[in-house]
Symmetry: C2
Subunit: 164 residues, 2 copies
């Protein structure tokens, strides 16, 4: 069963790149605005809505926490749009993603965020549910709003164990 144990590693833009963007103010700002009073880290992620019936919307999610290790039974994806989650308080949260292999999710990868990091999943990226780790946590969500089915769920034959 050890091959079904996945250890969560610190989230980095490089490791996450196949799945989306890490949204964080890292390094030097892109430019300044407001007569130098504001540093802007510009265009860190795009809001992608793939169908004409949808529109990009801003929502808030208040998530309850999970404990590690956890059993990962299911991942989901949203074919019609990207989905960004940015924490409104600095506690870490767990990010689980999986590569697409002929329409099904492969072996998951797990990341733990640093304070100030959010993520943007590309449209169609398999990912786990919103997973605070410390206490209830509020997230700004930027994703597609609109009619039609925009959710695919996959239940793995056997669960994966995600550990710290």
């Amino acid at each position: 069963m050890t091959d079904r144990i996945i250890r969560a590693v610190p989230l980095t833009a490089e490791a996450f790149a196949p799945f989306g963007e890490v949204i964080e103010a890292r390094g030097e700002p892109s430019f300044q605005i407001n007569q130098g009073m504001c540093d802007r880290f510009h265009d860190l992620a795009r809001v992608d809505v793939t169908d004409e019936e949808g529109a990009p919307g801003i929502s808030i999610g208040l998530g309850r926490p999970y404990a590690l290790p956890l059993q990962l039974h299911m991942v989901e994806c949203h074919p019609k749009g990207s989905q960004a989650f940015v924490p409104l308080a600095g506690d870490p949260f767990l990010v689980v993603v999986a590569p697409d292999e002929s329409g099904l999710p492969g072996r998951p990868s797990a990341f733990v965020t640093s304070p100030g990091q959010g993520v943007n999943y590309h449209a169609g990226t398999w990912h786990g549910v919103l997973t605070p780790l410390v206490r209830p946590q509020a997230f700004l969500i930027v994703d597609r709003v609109g009619p039609g089915t925009n959710l695919a769920e996959h239940v793995y034959d056997e669960p994966w164990t995600i550990t710290a």
Copy 2:
């Protein structure tokens, strides 16, 4: 000169409605997601990009604080898209908006946010610069990214004084 003194009042969705949306988790959630583990406050604001060359992007701004009372010399607007600012820490910030009167900004209104409140300016809304009040503050910014001119600035003949 007292007619050029504007007192900032607490931000409410009702008072801000002519200018945009207040982004906050207020009242009952719209619905639950993730098997009941997350309350979603859905579609609180739309990201509006009015031209085909632009796209909705996610940025971060790190703003330096201002002290009240302040002298408001200038407001700006972005005709090609909405612009959302959501604080990534709970300190209050100042929101200044002004009605459009035949293409020019009228008398400003000033609001102070409560912790957890962000704002989304409708496309073309006259507004002040990002104005933290307590300490440097990070904001998630969701607005149009793309080529072309998307900024109009107006300098008032006389400044306004914004007070707490």
